[in-house]
Amino acid sequence: MLVISVRSDRIDAASAIAFKEDLRSRIEHGPPRVILDLSQVTFLDSSGLGAVVAAKKLVGPGRSFELSGLTGAVEKVFRLTRMDSVFTIHASLPQAFRDAV
């Protein structure tokens, strides 16, 4: 399992492309289960959402791509676009993995 913690507080139109490229390189040859830890992200717009969706597609159906620690602002975007219905979303990282990051 791979946990990717996003360090940036914003994933928006200015950073989405670089963020997507960065995710791609980390995900491409990764383990069957990937968790994206968004607990430090306080702002995400539709471009940022697009980058997260792109990562899910890259992981593909044979592996699992999950989200963790959505702040209020990020949760709102997933809810309004109903993207919360196609992602597995954890309130926070399991204790074991939190220590590992």
């Binding site: 928006d12 139109a13 702002f43 717009d45 969706v53 792109a54 602002a73 309004l80 676009t81």
Partner: protein, 154 residues
């Protein structure tokens, strides 16, 4: 912190104006700066987040579509109201397709589309949306209330 019953010496402003360059980096920096102003202090953090999201979607659409391949300024004027905020956005880029606002139909989440959510988010959080073209300008106006409106039907 103790509760201080006196009103602050200088109440936060009710009118605000900013000029942002029409590209994604300037919009991001501009929003970061404007969201830190005392203008928002009477409002809930949840409300300020909605306002920032709507502003980001409107301004990034201008940068990406109206100013596609060119550059130019975006003028933003904000007015605090009893219910929330009234916003005007003006740019000198190309006009909206068919000279009107996109319907903002939500893409099906199962399609895993990476784009096309912008106007859906705007219409979900803002009300009284208007668009007009005037002397080479695009002018958008809308309100965001502290109680989010039901999604408009169109």
């Amino acid at each position: 912190m103790r509760y201080d019953p006196r009103p602050p010496a200088v109440p936060p402003p009710v009118l605000l104006h900013l000029t942002v360059q029409g590209d994604a980096v300037s919009v991001s920096d501009g929003l970061r700066r404007v969201m830190a102003l005392p203008f928002w202090s009477p409002m809930s953090a949840d409300f300020a987040t909605s306002a920032e999201l709507v502003l980001a979607e409107v301004l990034n659409n201008v940068a990406e579509h109206a100013y596609a391949g060119t550059s130019g300024e975006i003028e933003v004027s904000l007015e605090r109201t009893a219910a929330g905020v009234a916003i005007r956005v003006a740019d000198r880029g190309g006009p909206m397709p068919q000279n009107r606002l996109p319907e903002g139909a939500a893409p099906d989440p199962r399609d895993l589309q990476e784009g096309g959510f912008g106007w859906h988010l705007i219409r979900s959080l803002a009300r009284d949306l208007t668009y007009r073209r005037l002397d080479g300008w695009n002018l958008f106006s809308f309100r965001i209330d502290d109680l989010p409106p039901a999604k408009q039907s169109h």
